[in-house]
Amino acid sequence: MTTAADRARTWVSGRDRSLWVAAGLIVLAVLYPSLVESLQDLPLIGDFVPSVSGMVVMLAFTTMAIGLNVVVGYAGLLDLGYVAFYAAGAYTAGWFASQQFDQWTFHFGSVGIVKSLPGIHLSVWLVLLIAGLFTLVVGILIGLPTLRLRGDYLAIVTLGFGEIVPQFVRNADEEGIGFDLTHGAFGIAPIDSLGFGSLGERLGLPESFQTSTDRAKWFYLTAVLILLITVFCSVRLRDSRLGRAWIAIREDETAAAAMGVPLMRTKTWSYAIGAFFGGVAGAFYSSFRSGAFPADFYFNISVFLLCMVILGGMGSVWGVILGGMLLAYLNVEGLSTIGAKIQDAGLDFDPTKYQFGIYGLIIVAMMLFRPTGLIPERRHAIELEEGVHDTPFYDVTTEATLTDRDPSDD
């Protein structure tokens, strides 16, 4: 046990430390595209260093995992249908930044394409926001009927929605609903690229990322920015009145309601906010790969994202970033790199064939050895007063009567 002053000091330095770590990671992340080549030349580990475009995919999925963490980690609502939000975001990008609706021609801030191209072409930056908001509404619509359920029942119904959405996008074409909304099994492609347009060109920035020589780098930097904003919002919300209510619901729903927390509204907000980030990440990712295809939106994505959250540590933002990057890395490049190494060694084993078995093993191992995740959530006290408030808040006269308390406890 330490004194109050000591505790306050360690807390402040702990806070400083995580700020420094965060700042260092951001700098490293921004420099990554210029470092990657020298990293890949390193002996032994060089082959395992992910490429910049691999990193884009990893970051996009990690952003979704952070969004899912709001629902699963903070509010404790098991959502097995998060892929629905990913799909909603991706298709919003398809609707507002491609030739999908070629009966209309409307351009607003589009980059890298001729102005006469039919279809709705909004600036993809704007589309990211629209996708977030549209998905937020989808989240509310899915949430309102389902969030009355608790625990396993909620999980089953979200699982249902996770199945309905890909079936819907697969069938919502001329034949299915009489209006070509999603272009059925073919998906929507090409989707416009992010870019800085003619204004950017004058500043020496690429007009369109897709046609730029540094395509991967620019998408990568955008992905880093989106992840940072997501993490920032997620952390701010966690430490707010709303975040407290989420955690209270996770801890004891009945008690939370009795303390004045409106259950439906609070849960629906967690759904909506989780959906928002899923939508933004989905729209971004579909702009990066220039298409939205129904085969991408299956149940395994929901489970994959949930694995990231569980592996990292439910509710822990740092943990989910780590878990997300790790699993996404294995999925994007890691397993095939490892497989190539194994085959070089003369063994006939291809780990990419068993990827879900491998993720399953990882989860089982985590549950056995470290059930709280790689970086467990540390429930920090909310100290708006920068840590100085730990000085006892009582007068000495009361203290004298509290004989059963050890003064060093505080």
Partner: protein, 262 residues
Amino acid sequence: MTEQDGNLVEVTDLRKEFGGLVATNDVDFTIPRGAIVALIGPNGAGKTTFFNMLTGVYKPTSGSIVFDGVEVSDLPPHAITALGIGRTFQNIRLFPHMTAVENVLVGMHCRLHSGIIGSILRTPKVRQEEREAVDRARELLVYSGLPRRHRERAASLPYGDQRRLEVARALATDPKLLLLDEPTAGMNPQETADFTAFVSRVRDERGLTVLLIEHDMKVVMGVSERVTVLEYGAKIAEGTPHEVQRDERVIEAYLGKGATTE
């Protein structure tokens, strides 16, 4: 009738059935403003069911509950809390992994206003509201007899402190009526005496009305001004502690038939 007198709670013909079991059988019940009222009865008499109906956890099968002029029997729990009923639970139900301060802050939820955008941007208004809320939470903890350990997880507090924390959290909802469900269960005589004094003090200083469920007759007789006795879901007696103590049906309910004649 002025604001200060009259009844804060008026319950009429309140009935709750669980399948064939009648847990609360057409109970009429009033709580005068500013009083400390005790609800007693043998185990299974329907006391906690009654509490749960008052706080919206259960919907009554029939009957009405009027709190401060508002019919509350159809409202969800959080709306009832917002109207001014704060409660504790028979088996302590704190948020175990949240700190003491955070527990109290959750209690203030319905009195705070910061929204999503404000929380993300952490506007000066939100910061100030949070700062004031934390200060008030700490004051409430001190007031409730928890001068320290504010940043410890609720689960790691000793039992008596957890009980106090639950009261602090209930007070944070800024209630007009405080419901205490067996607050002294598991306390030693000294703690019980302290707690009893505390309840009277809260009532006097904060102008609350208190309804408590209690098994410890010393507490009931010591602190309450009116006592209502339930048995098998029905009200069998009501009055001052003195009257109730002498009521034959009450003695019978507790000690069995024949106890009065010996």
